[in-house]
Amino acid sequence: MVPLHGYLVVSALLFVIGVTGVLVRRNAIVILMCIELMLNAANLSFVAFSRELQNLSGQIFVFFVMVVAAAEVTVGLAIIVTLYRNWKTIHVDEIRMLKG
């Protein structure tokens, strides 16, 4: 059986790759994808801890995280489509109406 630490290392790496992607990429869709990566990293540690602590609540939690992630993606992509319609770009450096 692979120990918990193995899964935690994978989860930490995935989370940090997601954070890095949000910070360095400027394409709004890629930023949304990196947010998905971070949610998935959290899910992986939920399931790993669920096995380690022999408690299925972690997997129930992952189910709800997946529902929230699906809702978030649909709303986020709708916002991106609307942004593209108004600005003809989804480059987040060029969309700065709120910057003042």
């Binding site: 935690l8 994808m33 990196c34 399931v47 380690e52 602590l53 022999q54 189910f63 992630a69 699906a70």
Partner: protein, 172 residues
């Protein structure tokens, strides 16, 4: 054997996640993300979470990524040269910081590990006695998690209505 599969799946997951960030073309980023989600489903199988593994492949690698690819192709995005040079400057700073952050996250996680409660009662034998992972999860979901489950439907309804309002063309 399990260790071998774990190494293969985790290398695939982390490697293709890095490719998502690295690749300049959004369509290829999305395809790498699908590969990453699939191999994460393999990791869930190794953790004996069959239901979550199925959901991972159906919801994430299926529905969510189809949505991503659909929007990318709808907007017809192409990589731009000036983005790439700015990206290379940023990654030079972000790379070492990210490694530092991995260290921080791991320290926090091992700190949490020191405080974990003793093992619960829902071990593999209990799950088998319940009739499998999916049956055990379903029973839990519809007893202890019933209220959150119903609230979820409201969340999905709000998301559907919100998307319709957002994506509707404004008439002037």
């Amino acid at each position: 054997m399990e260790l071998f599969l774990f190494v293969i799946f985790s290398l695939l997951t982390v490697g293709s996640a890095a490719a998502v960030v690295w690749h300049p073309h959004p369509v290829k980023s999305a395809l790498f993300l699908i590969l990453s989600f699939f191999s994460m489903g393999g990791l869930y199988l190794l953790l004996q979470a069959e239901f979550i593994a199925l959901m991972q492949v159906l919801v994430y690698a299926g529905a969510v990524m189809v949505l991503f690819l659909f929007v990318i192709m709808l907007l017809n995005l192409k990589p731009r040269g000036e983005d790439r040079t700015a990206f290379k400057v940023r990654i030079r700073w972000a790379g070492p910081l990210a490694l530092l952050f991995v260290g921080g996250v791991l320290t926090a996680m091992t700190g949490a590990l020191a405080r974990v409660a003793p093992a619960g009662a829902q071990g593999p034998e209990w799950v088998v006695a319940q009739g499998g992972n999916i049956r055990a999860l379903g029973r839990l979901l519809f007893t202890r998690g019933l209220l959150p489950f119903e609230v979820t439907s409201i969340l999905l309804l709000v998301a559907v209505v919100g998307v319709m309002v957002l994506a509707k063309k404004e008439r002037r």
